[in-house]
């Protein structure tokens, strides 16, 4: 199955079996990232941050925080260079996090 010319390039690296057997998690291919800053604000789960990479062509790269990523797929829409790919979420056994509790902790209260 060719992945070229598809209308949904972001979904191409995700074969159907992947969804059934491994919950997907977003991952940034750092070499592809152009540090455009578009994906962090798009993520409603605070799962993407920019990190310094002195050796990177753009000195910075987006990275996904696996604990926060819910695999929603919105970041694939933000990336102008298709730097996102899916990887299996090894953490899924833990179940969904309690949003209120998490944010209380984040706020330091």
């Amino acid at each position: 199955m060719s992945s070229e010319g598809s209308k949904y390039p972001g979904l191409r690296p995700l074969p159907p079996d992947f969804v059934r057997d491994f919950p997907p998690l977003a991952l940034v291919v750092e070499d592809k990232c152009i540090a455009c800053d578009r994906c962090p604000p798009l993520c409603f789960f605070d799962a993407i941050v920019m990190e310094a990479r002195p050796r990177h062509k753009f000195k910075r790269t987006a990275i996904v925080i696996p604990d926060n990523c819910t695999g929603c797929g919105l970041c694939f829409e933000a990336c102008p260079v298709d730097a996102f790919v899916w990887e299996p979420d090894k953490d899924i056994g833990k179940g969904p996090s309690k949003a209120a509790e998490k944010t209380e902790r984040d706020l330091g209260v």
């Binding site: 199955m1 949904y8 969804v19 798009l42 605070d46 929603c72 797929g73 919105l74």
Partner: protein, 340 residues
């Protein structure tokens, strides 16, 4: 001149509300919305325990269709296609969330719930009130809800029951069709304080390469900037008939869209997909655009323009009509056998 809006007995800083969804499922987002001068926030919808499966979401579940990501979110036409059902935590988490929102932000918080039996609706609504929510929205029309999107008789009992059981204002979020006005009237008759028009449609899309439905393989909620045109019709129709306020939602990208909804009789406007594509700063931008308009038109309060366009709306009988086909221009000459 002020954006201050009176809605459901609350004084809101702005008529722009954050709609229920992924931008309203944790406390930090409520604080961001407050910083951005949103008027209020409608929290992500919590489902009753009977629908606990709706708290787990498929992956991936969001797609922007017809979206050109090369132009940095400046696209004015796209569709948000998604299947993220209810709030992901338990009901206890949701009560904690509401309490935390009230503790850490001054922004008015509107709880949102979904259930089927009247008893569940009422129990949940009471908890939402106890936790300090300023109002409650009954999400009877989510495109993600199980079964058809028909207006069910149980909803009448739910609206009626909730209105009788809580003191906070009750909004009812209605689906986009086919006829919205009768649903508005039912909501009003049963004591709803306001209606939210309209939820997204239920849609479907297929990838022709894999020859499979996209994402999770089932129908999804679909909305986008194009949705404002049918919602405007429903808002106008409702505003002409019902007396309770209307919170309009659907396809708002700019202050211009908000003003249009106001001119058609909406009191507040809820936004969400614009935050997805243009970020949280959109709230401030939209507020600024409304203020610019108010300055230009010398308006002190949005109340002055609310429903103003409705008075210029005509009935089909009153439409001024002119003949077209009976004109005797050159394109009709053949009829008279005068070719060549």
């Amino acid at each position: 001149m002020s954006l201050k809006t009176s809605f459901l007995g609350l004084t809101l800083q702005s008529p722009v509300l954050i709609a229920s969804g992924p931008a309203s499922h944790d406390v930090n987002q409520v604080r961001v919305a407050e910083e951005q001068n949103a008027g209020a926030i409608v929290l992500k919808t919590a489902c009753s325990d009977k629908f606990a499966h709706m708290r787990s979401w498929p992956r991936p579940r969001y797609k922007l269709l017809d979206w050109d990501k090369q132009i940095e979110g400046r696209s004015k036409m796209f569709s948000l296609y998604s299947y993220e059902q209810g709030y992901s935590g338990t009901l206890d988490d949701y009560w904690e969330l509401i309490s935390a929102c009230k503790k850490h932000a001054a922004l008015p918080v509107i709880g949102s719930i979904f259930a089927d039996e009247a008893k569940d609706w009422i129990d949940m609504a009471k908890r939402v009130e106890q936790c300090g929510a300023d109002a409650i929205e009954l999400d009877i029309s989510s495109p993600h809800r199980p079964g058809s999107l028909a207006f069910e008789t149980t909803f009448v009992a739910a609206i009626n029951g909730v209105v009788g059981a809580v003191r906070i204002p009750v909004l009812v979020k209605l689906g986009p069709g086919p006829e919205v006005l009768p649903q508005c009237l039912i909501a009003q008759e049963n004591g709803a304080s306001a209606v939210t028009l309209c939820n997204r449609l239920r849609g479907f899309d297929v990838d022709i390469e894999s020859q499979r439905p996209i994402l999770h393989g089932y129908f999804a909620g679909i909305g986008g900037p194009w949705a404002k045109y049918y919602t405007m019709r429903h808002v106008a129709e409702a505003a002409n008939t019902i007396t309770i306020p209307i919170s309009a939602t659907g396809g708002v990208l700019s202050g211009e869209d908000v003003i249009k909804y106001m001119l058609l009789g909406a009191s507040t406007v809820q936004i969400l997909s614009v935050i997805m594509v243009n970020g949280w700063e959109s709230v401030k931008r939209i507020n600024n655009e409304i203020e610019e308009y108010m300055q230009r038109k010398k308006i002190n309060s949005l109340e002055e323009i609310r429903g103003k366009a409705l008075s210029a709306m005509v009935s089909p009988d009153e439409i001024i009509r002119w003949s077209g086909e009976s004109k005797r221009g050159s394109r009709n000459l053949w009829k008279e056998g005068t070719e060549n």
